[in-house]
């Protein structure tokens, strides 16, 4: 799927550079389910954002599907990200003004998908996550677990090859969390989607087939 070589990211401060990521060498193959763990401030989310091309890095190489990300132009990077990566957040980040169906549909608008196809794809997703009855509700009217399901549906609607999840169960109770993990496992096993999740929970991390431990911006194991 992708390989990183010596990725390093820092911010400058009067006291010198503060390293957010240091010398990250990571290679992830297609179809893997990886959990990133580490204490608060260890750089988990930063790493995820860099991998998801939402954030830049200062040194190193990032080869995503044979393309060197650091040399790409903004537009090309955006295309690469748009077509291959889905994002899921701890705080769901649904758009408050849009209904469930509209939220799920949103990414397709930026893919230039035709309206009929969009409608079919949304119906598909609603069906798959059992939220057909909720399609006209607004995010504020849903429970946290339901909101996260919508978030996942939205991430998957573009059929990404890589799913990045930043503490997807952080705001959920354990039962809801388990459901989400089941969804991830199914996706990974049955559809071959590569999943990378950031998590605090050993139990959730165990769903993956590989765990990366981060400390002070470095991979420790």
């Amino acid at each position: 799927m992708f390989t990183t070589h010596h990725i390093t990211k820092w911010v400058s401060s009067p006291a010198g550079r503060i390293f957010l990521l240091r010398d990250i060498n990571l290679s992830i193959a297609r179809g893997e389910f990886v959990s990133i763990m580490g204490p608060s401030g260890s750089g988990k989310s930063t790493l995820l954002n860099v991998l998801g091309m939402l954030d830049t890095f200062d040194e190193g190489e990032y080869i995503f599907m044979e393309q060197p990300v650091q040399t790409l132009k903004e537009r090309q990077r955006s295309e690469l990200h748009k077509h291959n990566i889905g994002f899921i957040f701890q705080a769901y980040h649904l758009i408050d003004e849009l209904t469930v169906a509209e939220n799920i549909e949103a990414p397709l608008l930026y893919h230039g998908t035709k309206q009929s196809e969009r409608r079919a794809a949304v119906a598909d997703m609603l069906d798959r996550f059992n939220i057909v009855g909720k399609k006209d509700l607004f995010p504020a009217q849903l429970s946290g677990g339901q909101q996260q399901l919508v978030g996942i549906a939205r991430a998957l609607i573009t059929r990404p090859k890589l799913l990045l999840a930043d503490e997807p169960t952080g705001n959920l109770n354990s039962k809801q969390g388990e459901e989400i993990m089941q969804v991830f496992t199914t996706l990974n096993k049955e559809e071959g989607v590569t999943v990378i999740q950031v998590t605090h929970s050993e139990k959730n991390a165990a769903y993956g087939n590989r765990i990366v431990h981060l400390l002070d911006g470095m991979i420790v194991s």
């Binding site: 954002n49 939402l54 955006s78 990200h81 408050d96 990414p107 608008l109 930026y110 893919h111 504020a140």
Partner: protein, 810 residues
């Protein structure tokens, strides 16, 4: 109680309104809160105060002008019992009356308590006074009145009394002039030495009238006792009279007809009905608004204009008020957390609402104070000349006080909704975060923005057409050559007219010179002549000119011939009529008017009067040898194309000075004549444009402010959309789309409104500029561009920001 709450909130938690609550700080808690709000929301507060203060200042200026016009002549004692006498014939009415008719009329009814005549123009009176053996020269306006003038209008005499009969060689002067001439000394008994009338003794000094009156603060001369006393043909006087009760006025004319021997005055076969002549009486306060009266030189205002200005004043305050409310509600998401923190800490809802409302009121009152400052500034700029009234604040306590009251109300109104709204949430819900913009509040704000867009469109379209009409009137072809034309009044050197003209013609820059009795396009109408033609009574406007006039002015002859030198040598003179007259009266070349004055030709309908009136039957006339005195005193000097017009002008002035070095001649470019003719429209236009611009400016501030808040609130949404793959362009387009939808709806509402208003206004003119569709398009594009720039500029930062940052803030 209220203070108690704020204090509690303030000391328990320094967070609610941020900093500023240092220990030992002795400001009252409310003021402290207020100051920290200003500090925290600097931009919102600045925009609010800016918009509101400009609006209040504009409101006051307009109100003062409206008050000036509204109270015009209403401060006179018995103003409702004073009337002006006018003479109407056929469809036209004139303010000038002959003396015997006026005096017969005064005698005709016991209801008329006093009647007076004034001369028809203000004369500049050149005079000098002697002070310590030194002559000091002055020139002041003077007017000649019959002594009873002071019985009709009540003067407040500072020195002397009205009983001091104003007789020839006596004058009454205003207090301002007395001060100017004699300082604090008593003026009574002092001599003014008039350049041609000799010694005049000051008999009385009267207190100056306010500027908004037809009674001017002039030097009053007494009318000669027998001046034109029996001249039934000399319509030279304005006539005013005072009655015991205004309800008797409608009967005065009937009563006069019964008691007046009209046949003795106007001829044996005269009847009022056949001549279609009548008397009309206009109440003193209405004179200011009456515009259909010929020879009426009193300052005019149109009720319609005042209405437009009043509407604009209301719109301006409304727009500013809408901005204010919008800002207050838009701030809700940013403030709500603090407010609810206070609530959790135990603040009472009522007390919090009170302090929020108070905050709005304080901002509004502060804006009012800034507005008074702006007024004082405005007072000093040249823009103040657009307003007739005195703009000093102390002169208008009622308007200034009233505006302060409106400011108070505006504050209350703008504060109430957000105060109620912000405090209405269950604190737990809001503290949990995830507080979006409520759809209801959004709809309200969009509606309010909509009102601003609608008024911006309407004002922009209205002002554009006002400009176009002005341009149309000043630049449309008139039917004669108006370029390179200089007009000089040479009445002073009439005996040397030919010598003067020959001297000018010798100058290389001058192409030709002609002269006439009046200046073309300087008035709505000219001398009206009633004559007999083919046994019918005809009426036309007559402009006596020199025989060279048409040739020099480039007016073509469509039938017959141009004037010749010989025409001036005939006994009765000759006419060239316009097409309208020809058609209306079925005229032919070679026939005569009144059986003696020959019609020698016809010309097209040149625009000899203003564009306000349609072209009427009209003739240029070369007087014959038997006609009255030659009063052809307006020289029309045509300068060669390409000549330096300024140089030509100074040559003309120099030449005039050779003939009379003392007198300052009135010499002007013809364009100035047109400008003066349309002064009313121009100054009205600038006034309305100025205030419309202010309204549009305030609207734009409002849109700007809201866009800022909107983009702040949607920061997170933008972040999400970018993560989902939206491009910067896509996001900018998305924001613009929202506003353009509102813009489009507003345009659809505003366009017909503006069309209706413009259409109605143009009805005032006989010649109208077409209602161009592109003006509408232009207004839409202009407002669209302003909005798009604001939206794009404001959202650029948000759209290009790293989405990670926007998503982190939870």
């Amino acid at each position: 109680m209220k203070g108690n709450f704020v204090e509690k909130a303030g000391t328990a938690s320094p967070s609610p309104f941020g900093r500023g609550s240092g220990r030992g700080f002795q400001l009252t808690p409310i003021v402290r809160n207020f100051l920290s709000v200003i500090r925290r929301f600097k931009m919102a507060t600045t925009l609010n105060i800016l918009g509101l203060s400009v609006a209040f200042a504009a409101f006051m200026v307009i109100m003062i002008q409206l008050d000036y016009d509204h109270s015009f002549d209403k401060f006179h004692t018995d103003y409702d019992k004073i009337f002006r006498m006018e003479l109407s014939q056929n469809t036209s009415t004139q303010a000038l009356i002959c003396r015997p008719l006026a005096e017969r009329f005064f005698e005709s009814s016991p209801h008329i308590l006093a009647g007076a005549l004034t001369s028809s123009w203000l004369q500049p009176a050149p005079f000098h006074i002697e002070k310590d053996g030194v002559r000091i020269l002055y020139e002041e306006n003077s007017i000649t009145v019959s002594p009873s003038f002071f019985d009709v209008f009540t003067f407040d005499f500072v020195e002397g009394v009205k009983g001091d009969y104003l007789s020839p060689s006596n004058v009454f002067i205003p207090l301002s002039l007395s001060r100017k001439l004699f300082g604090n000394e008593s003026a009574v008994g002092k001599q003014l030495v008039h350049a041609s009338w000799g010694n005049q003794t000051v008999m009385a000094v009267y207190r100056d009238f306010p500027a908004n009156s037809i009674v001017d603060n002039d030097i009053y001369f007494a009318m000669q006792e027998n001046e034109n006393r029996q001249s039934w043909g000399n319509f030279n006087y304005y006539v005013y009279f005072r009655v015991d009760d205004p309800s008797n006025v409608p009967q005065l004319f009937e009563n006069f007809k019964r008691n007046f021997d009209a046949q003795a005055a106007f001829g044996a076969d005269f009847t009022w009905e056949d001549a279609n002549v009548g008397l009309r009486f206009t109440a003193l306060p209405d004179i200011h608004y009456v515009t259909d009266v010929g020879y009426d030189r009193t300052p005019k205002a149109s009720r319609q204009t005042l209405l437009i200005l009043f509407a604009i004043a209301i719109v301006i305050v409304m727009i500013a008020e809408i901005n204010f409310t919008n800002f207050s509600t838009a701030l809700t998401p940013m403030r709500i957390r603090n407010i609810n923190t206070q609530k959790v800490l135990g603040a009472r809802q009522g007390a919090m609402r009170f302090s929020l409302v108070l905050e709005a009121v304080l901002i509004s009152l502060l804006s009012f104070l800034v507005a008074t400052g702006l007024m004082m500034l405005f007072h000093r700029t040249s823009l103040a000349r657009l307003v007739d009234a005195d703009l000093s604040l102390t002169a208008h306590p009622l308007i200034v006080g009233g505006t302060a009251f409106i400011a108070l109300l505006a504050g209350l109104l703008a504060g109430l909704y957000p105060a109620w709204y912000m405090t209405s949430f269950v604190p737990a819900l809001v503290l949990k975060g995830n507080f979006g913009l409520s759809p209801k509040g959004k709809r309200l704000r969009n509606t309010l923005i909509g009102i601003q867009f609608v008024s911006s469109f309407a004002l922009m379209i209205g002002v554009s057409f006002m400009y176009l009409q002005n341009r149309y009137m000043q630049h449309s072809p008139l039917g004669y050559d108006r370029d390179e034309l200089i007009i000089a009044n040479i009445g002073r050197i009439q005996q040397s007219r030919d010598a003067f003209i020959n001297k000018l013609k010798a100058y290389s820059g001058v192409e030709d010179v002609t002269h006439g009795e009046v200046i073309l396009s300087s008035s709505d109408q000219y001398m009206g002549w009633g004559r007999a033609y083919k046994e019918k009574h005809i009426l036309f406007q007559c402009l006596p000119v020199d025989y060279t006039f048409l040739k020099v002015m480039g007016i073509e002859i469509t039938e017959g011939r141009d004037f010749r030198r010989e025409d001036a040598l005939t006994r009765h003179g000759a006419y060239v009529f316009n097409e309208t007259a020809k058609k209306k009266y079925d005229m032919e070349v070679g026939t005569t008017v009144d059986g003696q004055e020959e019609i020698i030709g016809f010309m097209p309908d040149v625009k000899f009067a203003s564009f306000r009136t349609a072209v009427e039957p009209m003739a240029f006339y070369v007087r014959g040898s038997e006609n009255w005195s030659d009063r052809s005193n307006c020289a029309y000097i045509k300068v060669k194309a390409g000549t330096d017009k300024r140089a030509a002008m100074s040559y003309i002035r120099d030449t005039l000075a050779e003939f009379d070095a003392e007198y300052t001649f009135d010499v002007k470019f013809f364009d100035e004549v047109l400008q003066r003719l349309y002064e009313k429209e121009t100054s009205l236009g600038s006034l309305i444009s100025l205030f419309s611009l202010i309204a549009i400016f305030i609207s734009v501030t409002g849109v700007f402010g809201l866009v800022v808040f909107d983009s702040e609130c949607r920061r997170k949404e933008v972040g999400i959309r970018k993560v989902l793959g939206a491009s910067v362009t896509g996001i900018i387009v998305m924001f613009n789309k929202t506003y353009f939808r509102i813009l489009l709806v507003c345009f659809v509402i505003a366009a017909p409104l503006a069309w209706y208003a413009v259409h109605n206004w143009l009805e005032n003119f006989a010649y109208k500029t077409p209602i161009y569709w592109w003006v509408y398009l232009l207004a839409f594009v202009a407002v669209g561009i302003i909005t798009a720039c604001t939206v794009t500029f404001q959202n650029w930062r948000v759209a290009t920001a790293n989405p990670v940052k926007a998503l982190k803030t939870e």
